[in-house]
Structures are given as structure tokens and as C-alpha cells.
Symmetry: D2
Subunit: 292 residues, 4 copies
């Protein structure tokens, strides 16, 4: 970590920063320039947060040198990791076609199910099916798809649904962006051996995504696929857009497979076919779509 002191920072302020650095088991490395004193903290800077230092007196700015992820980075493993599921390879150079609909299973490489979906519109016709009914239906779908030899991704929306999905023999657990902040759930998923898709939410930067993936990997589960399903747009009529920039970035810095889910991103001004081409151009390993 590099600490840039304010121009007028005095010796006492520098000493406080040095004390802090040593107290965390790192070593300082001071360089006094004409306009600024700069302090390097050498060692594993991952054990504390820049904010801890930024709040010390006369500190101007704190810059991290190491990333908060390690296991999932290309520095740990240069080649793409490939996750084999029922004979289908997620990762590497292939590009999987994942159907968002059982009906199109025959021509797809894998199928995505969203059994626990609830409408976000309060006055929508309420789905009268109970969670029990949802679970029974999911079990039947997974069984049919397995018979047809297709791997199945099951989206869970709550920590209580993990068990039901595993009981139904889901091949891959799909965590939507809203679960990116749920470290307790990620702890549980991290202790499983089942592959997991980790989607970032609409406001996350690529780094938030990688940090959450590292969190899961650190708990033991290395079968992680990154999922991109939309980020904020400025266009007033279309709230979300595919984050091609984040896909390109994470493909470069991690060895994990990346898929795009475009089922809720198309609209009159952005046909699903074009989204598919854009995802492909950004280098994804698979696309979840409702294209026929």
C-alpha cells in the first residue's frame, strides 16, 4: 500500500502512519520528495483497508498495490480454468449456448431455470403456487433435463433455497446480483463442491465482482463462473445494458469462465441477436438467452 501524505504533513503524522503499518505486521519504506512524503507499506496489505489509513491525520490519499483477489487471478494460474459439468465444458475457448427455457433444451448446451422467481410488481397477478409447488416443479424439470443429458443451472434467490436446489440435483447454482452483498450465503456456497455462477449487481464495478469470487474461492469452492446480467444505463427508457467492458476486463485478470445472461436486457432498440454478438465479441464463454 502507498500512503501519500498532505503537503504540509509533519513528522508526528508520518510517525503515526508508520506505527499503524508496523502494528499490522508490515514494514514502512519512506520516500521524501520535494512536494510530498510518500510511505510504502511493504508486506501483505490485504489485512487492512485503505480507509483505516485515510482517516489518520494529514494523510492525503492511500493507494493499494495488491488486489484483494489472488486465487482467482491469472497470476495464480495463467491458463483458463475449465469446469466440466455432465460432459459440457464451461471455460476455455468454447462458447456455450444456454437456454433460458426448457422448451429449447434440445438444441442447447445447458438450461437455466429460475424456479423461485417472484414478480417485482406489487399489483401483478399473484402466482398462487406455493414454494412447495415450485420445488416439485423444479425437481421434475431437472430430472427431465438430466434424462436428455443437459446440465442445469438453477437460480436461487434466498439462502433457504440452496438445499432445495441441491436436493433437486441442480448441477450449477446461479446467484443473481442481489446476492453479491450476502457474505453469509457466499460462505455456505464456498463450502460446497457444486459449481456456482456469481453475477454482479447493476451497480457493481468489476473489482467488487472479483472480490466476492475470491471470498467464495477462499472458502474452498473453486468451481466459480462469473455471470454478467446487466449494469446501469443512462438511456432513460432502458434501465440496464450489458456490461461488455467488465467482461473484457475480468477475462483478462482472472482464469474463471464468464457467462452473460441477456434474457432481461433486450428491448425494441437492442435486439437479442445483437446482444448475443456483443457478448461474443467481448469474449464470454457462454450466453443465457431466450433466442429460439
Amino acid at each position: 500500500m502507498i500512503i501519500v501524505m498532505q503537503k504540509q504533513a509533519g513528522e508526528a503524522a508520518v510517525a503515526r502512519v508508520v506505527d499503524f503499518i508496523r502494528s499490522r505486521g508490515l514494514q514502512e519504506h519512506i520516500s521524501r520528495g520535494e512536494e510530498r512524503t510518500i510511505i510504502g507499506a511493504v508486506g501483505d496489505e490485504r489485512v487492512f483497508s485503505p480507509n483505516d489509513l485515510e482517516n489518520l491525520p494529514e494523510v492525503e490519499r492511500v493507494v493499494r498495490v495488491l488486489n484483494d483477489w489472488k486465487i482467482i487471478s491469472r497470476e495464480s494460474r495463467a491458463e483458463d480454468s475449465v469446469i466440466q459439468v455432465r460432459g459440457v465444458a464451461f471455460g476455455g475457448s468454447g462458447m456455450l449456448d444456454i437456454a433460458a427455457d426448457e422448451a429449447r433444451a434440445a438444441s442447447a448446451d445447458a438450461v437455466f431455470l429460475d424456479p423461485f422467481y417472484l414478480s417485482v410488481r406489487p399489483y401483478a397477478e399473484v402466482d398462487t403456487s406455493s414454494e412447495k409447488g415450485q420445488i416439485l416443479q423444479m425437481r421434475a424439470q431437472v430430472a427431465r433435463l438430466h434424462e436428455a443429458g443437459k446440465p442445469v443451472l438453477v437460480r436461487i434467490r434466498d439462502v433457504r433455497q440452496i438445499e432445495a436446489a441441491l436436493d433437486a440435483e441442480a448441477d450449477i447454482l446461479y446467484l443473481g446480483g442481489e446476492l453479491m452483498s450476502n457474505r453469509a450465503l457466499q460462505d455456505e456456497v464456498g463450502r460446497l463442491n457444486t459449481p456456482v455462477v456469481l453475477c454482479k449487481d447493476k451497480h457493481h464495478r468489476a473489482d467488487d465482482w472479483l472480490v466476492a469470487a475470491e471470498h467464495i474461492a477462499l472458502r474452498g469452492n473453486r468451481h466459480i463462473i462469473l455471470g454478467e446480467a446487466g449494469t446501469l444505463s443512462f438511456e432513460p427508457e432502458h434501465t440496464y445494458r450489458l456490461d461488455v467492458d467488465a467482461i473484457v476486463r475480468v477475462r483478462r485478470v482472472t482464469h474463471l469462465p464468464v457467462i452473460a445472461n441477456i434474457t432481461r436486457l433486450w428491448h425494441n432498440d437492442m435486439p437479442q441477436e445483437v446482444l448475443y454478438r456483443l457478448a461474443q465479441a467481448s469474449g464470454v464463454n457462454g450466453v443465457v438467452s431466450s433466442l429460439p
Copy 2:
């Protein structure tokens, strides 16, 4: 709802839209201009979504006339709703000082607790306390604060924590932005009688917030407080900022109380005192802060 047809739209396309409108129990109202045919759908448009129509052939654009919220709007109730908790009034013209720290309880109107917090940094020193330990500590804190006559807001981060918070006699359940997409949890909270703070997440527009609040209100719980705790910023070094614009908007269109949580939004370039003043200028009914 108003449906604007494409310029060249033919009679068949208009007829399909009309059929759809009637099938949902609404009535059409057609107006043929020189450049466009426009179809009004008269009746309760809340039962279907603009997308259902936008996907019909030769439809250019669909505009909603009614909002997806009703109970919580000022049209249902013009005056501010006020929620009384242990003698403290949330809402109306007062401005509550809510401490984010038990230590400052004595001078505050209420206290905010976050017992289930987990670090988002994978390599942070892991908190070794078990959830059981967290719960015991929360109980003790709530008891002490109640003895001092202070209402307590407890942040839950998972549906499984609702019961523990209620058992500990939390006065108000605080739902962080990450729970905005969890309709199942909102269903449970909606069936309670305990006041609830509903925060929007970093990417939500004001309307998403109001729709979720209506969802809870529709389940029966009318003790809803809106909470704002940060939205996306463009400044590279500071990820989030206080969404003063959204606060102003919701104070105008709903009668619900609104509080701001500024504890994680201050930094070197934005002192907490200034955030406090900005929140106040935007019209909030209370601020959660760690100001002394």
C-alpha cells in the same frame, strides 16, 4: 397506459393491441393523428407490464399513466404519516438524530445496530464470533438501550435473522439495499406489525424504491420508513454518494418518513458534517450518523 404505434403501423397491429387490452379487462381509446396512432388503455393498468405490450408488432413505445404505488402515495394520504416508537416520532416535521453507535446513545433520539455485519474483504481478519454470539450481544445491547428509553433499529442481512431481531425486541427492522430485490423477505416483513426501514440499493431509481415499499404496504404492514444510504458516484475515488435528489422526490410523492444513513458515505472530500447538512436540506426526517 398509452401505446404509441409506429408510423407505418397497420390495422392488424392496432387490432392486436386492442385485443390485448380487452383481454386484461381494460378498455381501449383510439386516437389517430397525422403521424401516429395512439391507443389509450383505460382502467387499472397496474395488472400488466409495459413490456407485454412493447413486444407486440409495430408498437413503438408504451407509456404508463398510473404509478405502481398507491397506498404509500400522497394521493391516498396528503399529510405525512408519523410512526411512533417508544415515544419517538418518525415522520412529520421533526428531524431525528440516530446514533450508529451505542456509545453515543445518551444524546441521540434512537440507536442503529448492525449485529450481523460481515466484512466484504476476503482477507480481513475474520470475526471469530459465531452467529449465536452475535445474537446474544444484540439482545444485551437492545436491553440496555431500552432501559435508557431509546428505540433501537436493527439491521438484518438475511431472512433468517428476522426472528432473532424480533426475539431481541428490536423496535424497527432495517433492511439494507441488498434486500430490495428479495420479494420473499418483503412478504414476511409485510405480514409483521413491526416498523421497517426500507433502503434502496446503489443502482435503484426512486421508483424502484416506491414499488418495493408498496409491496410491503400491500401485505399489511403500513409502518414503513424509507432509507437512503448511497447511490453510485462518478468520482473515481469515492464510489458512492448521498442521493439527495431521490430524497426530495420521495418526500413529495409519498407520505412515508425518510431517513438517511450517512455512516459509510463520508470521506476526505466529504465530511460527515456536510453530509448531515445536505440530508437536512433535502428534507429527511432523520439521519443515522457516527458524528460525536
Copy 3:
């Protein structure tokens, strides 16, 4: 235009809206629903702005039906317009390779020059060349490129440079995004017969772009090419990104050619080759790049 009145709006407020509509030569069309009165303004709504109406009492919202562009829309002309410059076709199904550097002219379809560039960094080594020197150099470059049979795009950064560029026989004037708000300059360009590239700026929505293009077309110049050179990004280390969504949208609603300028959008996490593929996938008619 459609005017949605507030729920409690009275007859007087409706009458004021009607008066306004008639005063501008349009006709009203009133529809009273259970929850809202809606007023349609039939006729050419392009003569006034929604704000004029939104500020009238008891108006809730104003929705435009017609767009502010007409000449450049696919409704006026369904097929792509193609602009021929020295035998090179801008528009249609081709994809032009435009070099941002004279050195690579031989293999390119056209060449982009930026003779009036000034560093935005105050302490950069100052370019000592005078504007006169810049102009002489530009003339020589254009002459050499014409000899080689290549069309030349010249970026102007100020209204005073139009004449110099035309004198140098620039084939296409390139207006950067910072000129999108300069209607006076657009008036001049609109009265020329020289093809023009109109770039949107980093904060513009697609509609702002189309409105400015219509402004030029309305003055008489129909040789307009839309240019996309970057929009705001959320990633802290990379300020701008290619706006693929806007490209897709404008390719659908206008018949104008669209090019992307990726020379300032690549960085460590986004190689220029990938940007090129993304631009292609979004349907552009040409790319300005510094690829070898």
C-alpha cells in the same frame, strides 16, 4: 404530446392546458379516466417543449409522442443513406477502416487528421507550433493523401477552423463531442455541402445526438455521419467507454451512417482489437483506429 394531469386536478387546470395547446395551433383530445385526466395535443408538437406545459399548475407529467427529428429518421427514408467521398462509400453494408495516422494510409480506406489538437494538461510540454504552422502542415498532409487517393476527415475544434479546413480541401469535417452544444457552428456547417461527422459528447444520450443531426439537416446539409467516440464509464480507472448501445439504437432509427472513433478508448483492460470487434458487432459503418 400527452399531458397527464395530477389526480386532484380541477377543471380550471384542464382549461389552462387546453388554452395553451390551442394557442400553439394544436388541438386537444381529452380522456377522463377514473384516476387521471389525460389530454392529447394533436398536431405538430415539435413547436414547443414539454417544459412549457410541465410548469402549468396541476400537470403531473408530459410525454412526447413525436421525436424531435424527422429528416434523418428511417420513417423519412427506410434504406441506409450512403455518402460517396472520393469513391469511398460511407454507409450501407460496408465497414470502413479509417486510419488515425497518415503513416498507415496505404492500407486504410480513409484517413483522420486532428491538426488543431492541444493538450488538455496544463503542464505538458507546450506545442510551439503556431496555428499558421498547423494549417500549413494540414494542407501538406491532405495534398499527399489525395494524391494517394484517400479521403481525409479533418477534426475542427473551433468555428474559426472551418474555413482553414475547407481551404485545405478536407473531404469531411469532423466535429468532436464538445461541439454538440454549439448551435451557431452547426448552423454554419448546415449551410455547407461538405460531409460532416457529428460526434456526441461523453454525457449525451442518443436522442441529443439525433436532435443535433436534425438541426444540421434542416439547414440543408444532408451529408451527415454520426460519430461515437466515448461515453462515461463507472470504472474508476477508465473514464470513458465505447457506447455500443447508442450505436445500435441510432442505426435502427436513422438512415445515417455511423462510425466509431476508438483511438482514445483503449487501455490495459480493453485492447483496441476488442474495441474494434465490439464496434463491428454493434453495426457501425466504419472505425477510426490507430491499429497497425
Copy 4:
């Protein structure tokens, strides 16, 4: 400047960076950690751009230590600079009321004129006044306001209008955000002695603003006032919002006065009175408004 090398970076890559640093007159300062080699470039880093280094092989990231502004920073001058115009002080602790309308001049501290405004809507009723007419009207207005003892801010929209404004005896030149990229115009303004308001555009970060202000100060003109007139919003119906965060930041890092222009930022969900209070809470030295 601090250069973080990639993990696997070899000696050759380090040597190339060192060569580059020396070639620009700075000195290197190498620190080899376990996971990264870090190179400090000691000296005036303002003479080159991080990109120059980022493009060298095996460089991961380049971090600036010094800012690109100096003259305008509080490090050069701790106390607020105050610009006196006709007896009215811009800057310091006062808060000026600037009328956007001559009609309200009597009760205001200063008056803002926008004589060269052109509608951005192509089909708006065209203003038939010539530029000559605009100039004559401006002269008359400025004269009347001077008689009443009021300082006048004149917005210019093009470099050709500087002279006309000065001839009319405008006290302060107001540069809208669209002129932030026009370094040629800023050069001219920088050589004047007339006070200038420099607005950032809707997509600029606070640093872009400060860099442009330094550019003007470096040319000699130190009478600079920063102006904030709107930044991008995510709310679909309201394109722009007041950037209170940027105001707070620049008030801390520069000694320049800052004013907010709220005349085009208010709407049904954001009354001008509330904007005024927000601007005040953020610490501005003046507000341009159309409040009565």
C-alpha cells in the same frame, strides 16, 4: 508518480521504465516487494501523462502523486481568494444572490445574462434576431445594470463572442460547460484580466474542472470562479442534477470561489427553493437562480 509493475515483470521491463523516467528529468526510486516491484518517479511528474508509462511493457498501473493543478490549490494559498467586482465580493464567507433575469436585478447582488442563447430544439420557433441585434440588446442591458450598480456576468458560447462581451463592458465572462474542452478559447481568456466563471460540463469529474482552471491561471488570469450547472442523473425523467459532491470537494482543495447555476436544474420533483438550500449546504459562494 508511482509505477506498479506486473507480478512477473522482468529486469528489462523495469529498465525501460527507469530510462523513460530519467529521459524526462526525474529520478527513479525502486522498491522490490514480494509480490510486486514498485518504481517511484521523483521530481515534477506534471510534465508527462500516466498513459505514456502505462503503455510500456509489463506495467500494471500508474498512480499520480501530484495533482495537475497547483496555482489554484489551497497548498499555494490556504485562505479563500476573493474577487471584487463593482464592490461585490465573490468568494470568502458570503453567499451571493445572482439573478438570471434583469427584472429581478433590484434585489440581487449581481445579474447573469445569456445574450447568445440559441434553442437546441430544431423545430422551435426560430429567434429572428441577428447576432448584431443580440449584441445591441446586451449593451443596453449591461449599461442599465451598471447604472443600478450591479455587476453583470455574460455567458459566451463561442470564442468570437469574447470581444463583443468585453466591448459591452461585461464584468465577468461566463463559460458554460461546453467550453471546458476548448483550450484555445481558454488560452485567450487566460490572457485577459477580466474575471471568468468556468463551468464544468455534465460529464466532467471535479479533477477535469480543476485542470482547466489551472490552465487559465497559468496563462496569467487569476480571477477565476468555478461554476456548477449540472451533472448527469440516473433518473429517467430528469437528465441533470446539481453536483453537490463536486462543489464540496473543490471548496476543500482550491481557494477559488464557487457558484452554482440552478436555473436549468429544477423540475416538478425538485423545486428551485430546495436546490438553493442544497447549494448553500454544499458551501457555494453564490447561486444563479430565477427565484423571485
